[in-house]
């Protein structure tokens, strides 16, 4: 058992930073919130679609980035170029995903997630590999998302800052 007694509720516009040291169960909590793992006991209700960003890209490694993102765009029904320019990916669309750097991969995953256009964002260690400019870009994007009525849950051991972001220390609930 990783943690117990965790209770949280988020409404439209709410943002939550799940903080804590490595191995405390931040990713597990996010996977439970996403419905991909079951809690040992407890209840989970949500309204609206959610999108998940974790360390796995879900982009075909041998494909050029543009085509790999295009696959999800056609499923999600988004415009193919949505957000790639903002994330600084426009020059990389012809580069196979396997040649991208760690930070570029994170940006690519962000483009995939934003393209999904779902109201709930679950971000698992979104800052890993991002440079300072990328970090502030992500903070701005998340803030914008929440001010437009979205919900964001960010699991990160690194600081994540914007107005209206609540923080929960998962270590307080550790077993």
């Amino acid at each position: 058992m990783l943690f117990s007694g965790v209770s949280l509720a988020l409404e439209a516009g709410g943002a939550l930073h799940v903080a804590g040291p490595n191995g405390i169960g931040k990713s597990s909590l996010l996977r439970i919130l996403a419905g991909l793992a079951r809690p040992f006991s407890g209840e989970l209700t949500r309204q609206g679609n959610l999108s998940l960003l974790d360390e796995r890209l879900a982009l075909d490694e041998h494909q050029p980035l543009g085509k790999a993102l295009g696959f999800w765009c056609r499923i999600d029904g988004c415009a193919p170029a949505a957000h790639t320019e903002l994330l600084g990916l426009d020059d990389l669309l012809d580069v196979p995903v396997r040649y991208l750097s760690t930070g570029q991969r994170k940006r690519a995953a962000l483009a995939r997630m934003i393209g999904q256009q779902s109201p709930i964002w679950l971000l698992d260690e979104p800052l890993n590999g991002l440079d300072a400019e990328g970090v502030s870009l992500l903070e701005t994007l998340t803030h914008d998302h929440c001010t437009h009525g979205g919900i964001a849950v960010i699991a990160s051991h690194q600081p994540f800052r914007f107005d209206g972001l609540e923080t929960i220390q998962l270590a307080d609930f550790a077993q």
Partner: protein
């Protein structure tokens, strides 16, 4: 419906022989070459005995088909599970069952029809006559969807395992026995009913595969 088509298109691009999306790495061209290589080697091993070759040739085609169906197993499900594709599909409400059903179709399309075409030159190498070739082809048509269904199910079951690739071949062969008995057995006598039985087994396997495979993927996610 368009989602199903998008996923099928991606699956086919990854599995079809020589597709550019597979990075020019040949996809399932390898199993086909393997299939033809077996058909070429066999007469050399048995010797130039035409009646013996013709009598056993159909069986050899079936065994080669079985082995060719095993070769791409480790690429069928495991990479997508590792890279998080199944998680992303689940978040979008696309069930594992649907993805596995699509993948079964894609796997069959990638080796079934090409194999049936390759069986024609193989039959020439083995000295099989036209009537027997027709039975072999019908048997392959009835049996290979079942092989594809077993293959995808096993691939899903072993996707979370470290030694999945070696294990999946071992697991598939016993499950393929009924298909081989009736598919290859069509050559021995009452071909019509044997092919019908192979087809029936195929249908059952194709019907089970999405549910077994989907459950396997969810189980590996929990673990």
């Amino acid at each position: 419906m368009s989602t199903v088509w998008q996923i099928l298109r991606r699956d086919l691009a990854r599995l079809l022989p020589g597709s550019p999306r597979a990075g020019g790495r040949g996809g399932t061209l390898l199993p086909l070459l393997f299939f033809l290589a077996v058909a070429t080697i066999y007469p050399m091993a048995v010797g130039p005995d035409a009646p013996l070759l013709a009598r056993t040739g159909g069986g050899v085609i079936w065994v080669a088909a079985l082995l060719a169906a095993i070769l791409p197993l480790d690429r069928l499900v495991a990479p997508d599970l590792e890279q998080g594709f199944f998680d992303q599909w689940a978040l979008r409400g696309i069930s594992e069952e649907a993805v596995i059903a699509i993948r079964t179709l894609a796997h069959w399309l990638s080796f079934g029809p090409p194999l049936m075409i390759a069986a024609i030159p193989a039959s020439a190498l083995l000295g099989i006559d036209g009537a027997t070739l027709r039975i072999v082809e019908l048997g392959l048509l009835a049996g290979t969807p079942g092989l594809a269904a077993i293959g995808v199910t096993i691939a899903a079951l072993t996707a979370g395992l470290r030694t999945g690739a070696a294990l999946s071949g071992l697991l598939l062969i016993p499950l393929a026995v009924p298909l081989l008995i009736f598919g290859a057995g069509a050559l021995a006598g009452d071909s019509g009913s044997a092919i019908a039985l192979a087809g029936a087994i195929s249908l059952v396997l194709v019907a089970i595969a999405p549910f077994a495979g989907g459950a396997a993927i969810r189980a590996s996610r929990e673990g």
